[in-house]
């Protein structure tokens, strides 16, 4: 009898071990490792982009954009930008959504210009620019504004179903698809370039406010603000890794080659992770 019980216990132990290792395998690809944290003096970073040489940081608390080198040495400060959010760097210009004024500002050298919008957003939280279009996360209108020349396309409407958005805060375009940080639906949504809903990502991963998104050739990176996590997915939505260390209310991510930079809104800092 004792032998039978022992065998049963051993079997149970093996079963539990296998189950646990199965759960871990969902995120066993620990490709990204923490490297260091860059501290800044009294900032509350909301947006971040790197061009491989500089960091461009939206300091919403102090109404300014900071340009630093990759070690965090401040090179220039662009003041008077009212609550700057998720910015975009394209062709040496920095596009900054000005949350309080509903404008998109362009930092061009030492000049600050204004982008001519065809449709006015209500609290632009994020912007993405490439050679043919500009996409804006229109926070209070629960939609993405896509402007191509004189043509404007609205993507999404207020709601919780597939294809609907609830306070979107960031947008990225890659592989001819539009990726949206659907913040208060706690997920990522993917649309085609014509605005058709393609996929929902992360809705099972207990994201608690998906504030920032970055998409590379292979991966989708999402900030979980309240959970203080980074979730990394394959483009098909498969979860690869969850990072929980050295993060303090992250709002945005920027990836350049094998280096990932993350803003810590509550930490007045940028955390740097490297791909192994």
């Amino acid at each position: 009898m004792k032998i039978v019980l022992s065998l049963l216990l051993i079997g149970l132990f093996i079963l539990v071990s296998c189950k646990n290792s199965g759960d871990d395998s969902k995120q066993t690809v620990k490709e990204w490792r923490f490297q260091k944290e860059i501290k800044f003096d009294d900032i509350a970073p909301t947006g971040l982009q790197t061009d491989g040489e500089h960091l461009w940081i939206s300091d919403a608390k102090n109404n300014r954009v900071i340009k630093s080198d990759l070690s965090g040495n401040v090179l220039n400060i662009y003041a008077g930008i009212k609550r700057p959010m998720h910015l975009s760097v394209y062709n040496s210009k920095v596009y900054v959504p000005e949350y309080l004024t509903d404008k998109i500002k362009i930092i061009n050298g030492d000049e600050i210009e204004e982008f001519p919008l065809k449709e006015k957003p209500d609290a632009p939280a994020g912007v993405f620019v490439n050679d043919s279009l500009i996409a804006i996360a229109d926070f209070y209108n629960h939609r993405i504004i896509l402007q191509r020349g004189n043509n404007v396309l609205f993507i999404g409407k207020e709601g919780h179903k597939k294809g609907e958005l609830y306070y979107p805060t960031d947008v990225s375009i890659a592989n001819n698809k539009i990726y949206v940080a659907d913040a208060y639906n706690n997920r990522v949504q993917v649309f085609d370039i014509n605005g058709n809903s393609l996929k929902v990502i992360g809705d099972k991963d207990k994201i608690n406010v998906a504030t920032g998104i970055e998409v590379t050739g292979n991966n989708i990176f999402v900030t979980d603000f309240e959970g203080s996590r980074i979730l990394i997915y394959k483009l098909n939505g498969e979860l690869l890794q969850i990072i929980t260390v050295h993060l303090n209310k992250p709002t945005d991510i920027s990836v350049y080659k094998n280096v990932m930079y993350v803003t810590n809104f509550n930490g007045s800092s940028i955390s740097i992770f490297k791909k192994l």
Binding site: M85, Y99, A123, V209, F225
Partner: protein, 106 residues
């Protein structure tokens, strides 16, 4: 002599009253203000109220403080509408007067 003292006192009081400008201060409790997009969104909506000169949002305490021109009255209903527009449920609203030295905010 009494008249001279009276005039002196009147002038003194006048001088004090003109050197201290009064502003209305309104404190509003709002829950769930941790996310910057929400907090600054609330600031954006409250800024639309006429007469608001300054807004301070304390994320940790969930407390919003409005400085309002003395000549302007903002109703509780107007404040509540803006808070709801920003996606929040308004809590307690407290009005008070605050003396300000000229140039204090310079």
């Amino acid at each position: 002599m009494k008249n001279i003292i009276k005039i002196f006192v009147v002038l003194l009081l006048f001088g004090v009253s003109t050197s201290l400008a009064q502003t209305n201060e309104i404190k509003v409790r709002v829950d769930g203000l941790s996310c910057p997009f929400c907090a600054y969104g609330l600031e954006k909506k409250l800024n639309e109220l006429e007469g608001v000169e300054n807004i301070n949002i304390n994320l940790e305490e969930g407390l919003v403080t409005l400085q309002v021109k003395d000549s302007v009255k903002i109703s509780e209903e107007d404040i509540e509408t803006k808070i709801e527009d920003a996606g929040f449920t308004p809590g307690e609203i407290v009005y008070s007067k605050k003396d300000e030295q000229p140039g204090k905010n310079d």
